[in-house]
Each structure stands twice: as structure tokens, then as C-alpha cells.
């Protein structure tokens, strides 16, 4: 089942960097959906369309639709706050807010109006457990979040978006700054998470794309070159450009 359907999406930034040209794509529910390709291909742009974070950027023109459960989320009438609670995001660099570990996790919930301590505490433990971080930080919840290691911070960012109980999690090269051990922890957490969440991942390497993908979409200079089931796309790509890229001939 497709959770998100991208229909004929085109977009151009005012400064001329990255763009999308007529993208059609289905994002599968409860699966890891990988968007990959060389830098500047439009992967991040697509991610930032799905939670309307591009509203903050200078977009010159955009057209097309993104249907989430059948409703166009690019519609100007969309409640973007509600949308962003439903669609969590993890960025390439772990950006913890200048608050304690606990406050980082409860930030979104408190904004959503949750005041009950029992609910907030439960959300802290649940989201940290899901992000495979609970055991490491359960004694340090009231320490500043920056005191955690880089890998822990990135899992905290993952936990932070999970605390809002989203339906979709967008990850933009979440392991690009991490060592191999932290990377494998994040990847393992994703495999657990996909049982309940729809995941859209921009991986930081082709290897990671191949390791994690249930579905894969190959982007090149704003165009979707190939899209399909993960294993098939990496073992038997249909397009020459996809094959060249996954076999390491360019990129």
C-alpha cells in the first residue's frame, strides 16, 4: 500500500540550486523507502516537500501534488503544524536543541499541548527505546543534550521525532557524520521501526541504500531515473544510468 503518492511534482529554488522535474513516485507504507543518487539530485528537496519544510526556503515555482492518505499536502489550506507532527524528520547533522535530553524529547509534545508528566515520561522512555538509546542515557535525562556523543545525539534526534508518534519518518543522510558502529545502530533501529512506521531515507552511500532499501528511487539532476523494489533495483537495474551509479562507475 502506498502511504504517499507523489504526482508530477516539479519545483525550482529561487537561487537555481537543486530542482525537481515531474516526479511520480509511490512511498510504501511500513517500509524503508530509499531515495538515492549523486548530490544535487533533488532527494533532500523531495523530503523537505513532504513535511513542507520548503515553506521556509525561497522556492521560485512548484507544481504537482503529494498525496498523503489521499489528501494533497501541498494544498495551501493544509494545516502544516499538524502535518509536521505526523511527518517526523531527522537531519544530516545531529542538531540537538540547547535543552536537556528530556526536554529535547518532550519539546514537540509540549508544543502540542501535552502537560501531563506521566504522558511525557512515558513518551521519553518509549521513544528512546525505539531509537535504541534508552539504556545508554536513562541515567542522564536531565543533562544537556550536547553532552552526548555524536552517535547518541543522532539517535536522540530520531527519538525526538518518534516522541510525537508520527506516521512517517524522513531521514536525510542521518548517518553521514557517524562512525560505523553508530551507523549500524541507526540502521538496526530503522529495521525495527519500519514495522510500524513509513520510512523515507536518503542514505549517505549506495551501500547503505542497498542494505536498507525495501523500495528504491534513483534521482539524477532533479529527475527520477528509476524506481522500484529495492533488491531488484540494485541487482538488476533497468536503466543504464542506474547501473552505472550502483556499480560505482560515477557518483
Amino acid at each position: 500500500m502506498d502511504k504517499i503518492i507523489v504526482e508530477n511534482l516539479s519545483l525550482q529554488y529561487a537561487d537555481g540550486t537543486e530542482s525537481l522535474q515531474g516526479i511520480n513516485l509511490g512511498i510504501k507504507e511500513r517500509a524503508v523507502n530509499v531515495l538515492f543518487g549523486p548530490a544535487g539530485g533533488g532527494k533532500s528537496t523531495l523530503l523537505r516537500c513532504i513535511n513542507r519544510l520548503n515553506d521556509l526556503t525561497d522556492v521560485k515555482s512548484s507544481s504537482g501534488r503529494i498525496l498523503l492518505d489521499g489528501k494533497d499536502l501541498l494544498d495551501p489550506d493544509t494545516d502544516v503544524i499538524a502535518l509536521r507532527r505526523k511527518v517526523g524528520m531527522v537531519f544530516a547533522r545531529p542538531v540537538v536543541l540547547p535543552l536537556s535530553v528530556r526536554k529535547n524529547l518532550t519539546y514537540g509534545l509540549e508544543l502540542a499541548g501535552e502537560r501531563r508528566k506521566s504522558r511525557l515520561d512515558a513518551a521519553v522512555e518509549r521513544s528512546l527505546t525505539l531509537a535504541a538509546l534508552w539504556e545508554e542515557v536513562k541515567e542522564r535525562l536531565d543533562e544537556p543534550a550536547v553532552s552526548l556523543s555524536g552517535g547518541q545525539q543522532q539517535r536522540l534526534c530520531l527519538a525526538r521525532s518518534l516522541a510525537l508518534q508520527p506516521e512517517i519518518i524522513l531521514l536525510d543522510e542521518p548517518t553521514s557524520g557517524l562512525d560505523p558502529i553508530s551507523t549500524s545502530k541507526v540502521e538496526a533501529a530503522l529495521q525495527e521501526l519500519k514495522k510500524n512506521y513509513t520510512i523515507v531515507l536518503v542514505p549517505h552511500s549506495v551501500q547503505q541504500a542497498a542494505r536498507t532499501a525495501d523500495t528504491a528511487a534513483f534521482f539524477l539532476q532533479g529527475e527520477l531515473i528509476e524506481f522500484g523494489e529495492g533488491k531488484r533495483l540494485f541487482t538488476a537495474p533497468r536503466q543504464k544510468q542506474t547501473e552505472d551509479y550502483v556499480t560505482g562507475r560515477f557518483g
Binding site: 513535511n51 521556509l56 499538524a82 524528520m89 542538531v95 536543541l97 508544543l111 550536547v146 510525537l164
Partner: protein, 287 residues
């Protein structure tokens, strides 16, 4: 050949550092000089009567309480008008306004406002607040005049502190379902607060030490009692210092330096508070 050059490079470096240290020291000398000189000359005048008493004998004896209280009133008055307005303007410029002709005009206006001589503010205050709005020569008119003079300092330092907060915090906060205002209130202002406070205090400190803007708008030559309403005129330390240094014959020098010392302590204390706030914030900065 190379070896000789290498030695020379190190010598040049040492020479350069030496020169820079000397120049740095030179900037410290006048400051220390002024403080030490005024302290030595003024300290003998400081007594309980001097700080808590009213002027006597045509201001040649007694105390300077009305001037001290007046300066405190004027500083508070200036803060009431300039701080909320200045911070709000800075938030608008840094967080909401996009870069266009309109905001560029505002920025140029702010920069130019900072360059206007203080006596011009005084005349402006006389025209607008004292005469046109009919506030009279009063604490209110003087505070408003000082507030306008202080605004550019507060706006530009606040805007700078807001911009120093990493953009990523805003993006993350928005992505977690915060509105722009929630992001500003909970994250951005929180982080920028020490810088904002420093700017506010430095701006107010300048206002506290100014004479020209209050000259026509609120300062009184001599008042036998403390002001009881914002519409009263008031004595103020900088103006009082001007008066007793130039307008009163046979003024004991001790009283002049005593007044200067009190004004200096007032301003340096504010400066010290700003420094403490800043260094504390730096120590606990979390990024």
C-alpha cells in the same frame, strides 16, 4: 640562505607580537588613568551626607541625592520605552522580515540614527515631546528622548544576538511542529538573551551618562526636593556635573570630582553587570 630567512621570520613575528601588545597596552592606559585620577580626587568627597543629602549653599556643599535619584529615574524611564520597542524591532528584522527595500531602509535608518549627535536628539525631544506633545520639561520627555537615542544600539545588538543563534535550531523546531513565534520564544530568545541583555545595558549606560539630550527636555538646574511625578523635571548626574563645573563660581573642586566619581561608578557598575552576564552565558552555552 633558507636558515637565515627562517630565523628572520621568527624575529619578525616576535617584533610584530611585541608591537601589538604595546598598542593594546596603550589603549588600556587612558582608561585606567581616568578611573584612578577621578577616584583619587573624588574619593575624599564621598560621605553619607554627599550620597544621601540635598545640595546646600548654592550646591557648593551638602549632597547630590536628587541628581543620583534623577539619573536612576531617567535610566528606568529610558528602559521602559526603548527595551520592549528595540527588542520587538530586532525580532521583526531578524526573524520575520525578508530582505527587501523596506527592511534595507529600516536598517539604514537605524545605522544613521546611531550616528546622530546627541544634542540633535535633545533638540528633537524639545520640539516633539516638550512642546508639541506638551509634556513640558519632564522626566517623561527626557526619557523618551533618551529612549530614541538608545534604540539603535538595542536594535542592532539584539538583532546580532538573534542572528548568532544557529539556523538549524529554527529548522528543527519548525520540523517538530512549532510555529515561528513558538520557536522564537522557546529557543531563539532563550539563546540570544545574554547578548540582548548586554546590548540593553550598554545602551542604557550610554543614556545614563548623556547630558545633551536631557538638557532641554528634562534636566533641572537645582530642585529642592525629589521629583514626585513623571511630569516633573529632575536633576541628573551628568547635567549636575556640567552645572557645578561651569555655572557655579567658587565651586569646591572636591564636590566636582565626587560627582564625577559617583557617575563613573554608576556607569561602570552597569558595565560590570553586562560583563558578568556575558561570561556566565558563555560558560554554560550548550553548542
Amino acid at each position: 640562505m633558507n636558515r637565515i630567512l627562517a630565523i628572520n621570520r621568527y624575529q619578525i613575528q616576535r617584533l610584530g607580537f611585541g608591537l601589538l601588545t604595546l598598542i593594546a597596552l596603550l589603549t588600556v592606559v587612558p582608561i585606567v588613568g581616568v578611573v584612578v585620577f577621578i577616584t583619587l580626587k573624588g574619593a575624599p568627597a564621598i560621605s553619607q551626607e554627599f550620597l544621601l543629602g540635598f545640595p546646600r549653599d548654592g550646591m557648593r556643599a551638602g549632597g547630590i541625592l536628587p541628581a543620583i535619584v534623577g539619573t536612576i529615574y531617567l535610566t528606568i524611564g529610558t528602559a521602559i520605552f526603548s527595551v520592549p520597542l528595540g527588542i520587538a524591532a530586532a525580532i521583526y528584522l531578524s526573524e520575520y522580515a525578508s530582505d527587501n527595500i523596506w527592511t534595507r531602509t529600516i536598517r539604514i535608518a537605524i545605522i544613521n540614527l546611531a550616528g546622530i549627535p546627541s544634542v540633535v536628539y535633545g533638540l528633537f525631544g524639545l520640539g516633539l515631546f516638550v512642546l508639541f506633545l506638551n509634556f513640558g520639561t519632564s522626566i517623561l520627555a527626557a526619557s523618551l528622548t533618551l529612549a530614541i537615542m538608545t534604540l539603535p544600539v538595542i536594535i542592532s545588538t539584539t538583532e546580532e544576538s538573534l542572528r548568532a543563534v544557529p539556523q538549524a535550531f529554527r529548522t528543527v523546531s519548525i520540523s517538530l511542529g512549532a510555529t515561528r513565534w513558538q520557536t522564537i520564544r522557546r529557543i531563539v530568545l532563550q539563546e540570544a538573551l545574554p547578548g540582548i541583555l548586554t546590548g540593553v545595558i550598554l545602551g542604557l549606560e550610554r543614556a545614563a551618562g548623556e547630558t545633551a539630550p536631557i538638557l532641554f527636555t528634562g534636566a533641572a538646574f537645582f530642585l529642592p526636593r525629589l521629583p514626585s511625578s513623571p511630569l516633573n523635571a529632575t536633576m541628573a548626574l551628568p547635567y549636575h556635573l556640567f552645572v557645578i563645573s561651569t555655572q557655579v563660581p567658587e565651586m569646591p573642586i572636591k564636590v566636582q570630582y565626587g560627582t564625577a566619581l559617583v557617575l563613573l561608578i554608576f556607569v561602570l557598575t552597569m558595565n560590570l553587570i553586562a560583563t558578568i552576564i556575558r561570561s556566565r552565558a558563555r560558560a554554560k552555552r550548550q553548542w
